[in-house]
Point group: C2
Chain length 279, copies 2
């Protein structure tokens, strides 16, 4: 069978690389509007050929959407219009709006909403790596609305990527990802802006940037074209989490301002409980 | 010659491990009030023996202070009182207050303020690793006030740790470290508290915690005993940076709340300039 990947950047390109390794399919077709990226994807062997969207859909058993989430919002209904028995997988980071948009579509059953909890701060076809997904979690969202046979094909593909799987509804998914992914990015963006603000007058910061700084700020290298639409699509959850995060920072600020070092110590000790969640 | 390390945790223990590898000195003496840690340090071979502070100073050519910064504040004057021609190196993360405190001490010339820009989120003797310092930066603060021969010994030790070096005055040092180290920790503590706050009602977050989340939140495993004194000693700078950081987060919040996605995109793109500072 043939597989089409729409958007051959970090996410789509890494799927292509891995599926070529495992020989899961006969041919991988890329759909890519950006000509430079299309060329790089072919050069790096992420896909076997580049085709226009409609032609690619007609030639494929599976179509994977790995473009920014606002583009998925525009594209998915059109793609579903063209489907006969193909399987359409959307790999975007937000789900509530997209699921609402296509819930009445006659081909709804051919579609599965999936979100691979994997990525790096880099983007584009040059960032694709074959083991990006290994041992990471694929979240299936409202999978019960997908046809049995379509789900099985999608899940076989997930297995090729060596991923674990979990199931959620759309509201759960969008809320949890706001906490574990979207807020981390906003924090990094803000931290980078804070340092850059100061760096105007102080040139020596980069000399000192150690590993702690690098790990908290590395996500600030992430693409604005990918992340602005994510924040837009998950606006309510992100605002809620960001409000809580600012509240926590203000609480730390107040403790320090009032020289309440016992209170500050308690808060830091409480935050250490994150050890339960991360290794 | 013998070297004494006061406080054999992550920082002191890692120095001990490395110096034993390079055979830079005859004997490494540990001073450690916590009996369990003293025992572990001996078991792991971080030091050759444990002695009381006064005895250790009398038997050593170099004394390195790697206890929390508030303990250094209390300890350093007493240590300098006992010095004849030994070299005293303080490895704490803040410098302005400690330098002010001992500036009139008759043995001031035997002391050097140094700050190795290295660490992990772990603490205690079990966290010590021999290559912690390799290729990292050692900051010497107001080194011109240190006797020439004392500085040379301290710098030979830094070379054993395979570190690069740089020089700063106290105000510069404390301001820069607030930006590249102290704020990263506060952000992580706040991020952990944000997630833990929600986790009370939501048990599934840990399933999704990917690498982005882990890297921004891992510093929240850091010791409150080490970090509360750092924030205390560098209070003014930390408050200034934290205020700026909260301002940047509020700015991102406002852009999203007002659905100004062009403005949000611009801010993210601006934050990408952090690439100039980190690799």
């Amino acid at each position: 069978m043939n597989i089409t990947i729409v958007g051959v950047g970090l996410i789509g390109g890494s799927i292509g690389l891995r599926l070529k390794e495992t020989q899961f399919c006969d041919k991988i077709i890329g759909v890519e509007k950006n000509e430079a990226n299309a060329k790089k994807a072919l050069q790096r062997g992420l896909v076997d050929e580049i085709l226009p969207l409609e032609e690619a859909i007609l030639s494929s058993r599976v179509v994977i959407l790995t473009v920014p989430v606002d583009t998925i919002m525009n594209l998915l209904p059109t793609v579903l219009d063209k489907v006969t028995d193909q399987v359409i997988i959307d790999m975007g980071s937000t789900k509530t709006n997209i699921l609402r948009k296509i819930e009445q579509h006659p081909n709804r059953g051919r579609y599965i909403a999936a979100h691979p909890m994997a990525g790096t701060e880099y983007s584009g076809p040059e960032a694709a790596i074959p083991n990006l997904y290994k041992d990471k979690v694929m979240v299936y969202v409202e999978a019960f609305r997908t046809d049995e046979d379509a789900f099985e094909i999608a899940d076989a593909l997930t297995e090729q990527l060596e991923m674990k799987t979990t199931f959620m509804n759309a509201a759960e998914h969008d809320m949890h990802t706001a906490y574990v992914s979207h807020i981390s990015h906003l924090t990094s963006f803000a931290l980078a802006l804070t340092v850059l603000e100061k760096e105007k007058s102080q040139g020596r910061i980069f000399e000192l940037a150690g590993s702690g700084f690098e790990s908290t700020v590395r996500l600030a290298k992430s693409s604005p074209d990918m992340w602005t639409p994510i924040f837009k699509q998950n606006r309510d959850n992100v605002l809620e989490v960001l409000e809580e995060h600012i509240k926590q920072l203000q609480n730390l600020y107040t403790k320090l301002e009032k020289e309440d070092y016992e209170g500050l110590h308690k808060l830091i000790k409480k935050s250490n409980k994150i050890k339960r969640i991360i290794k």
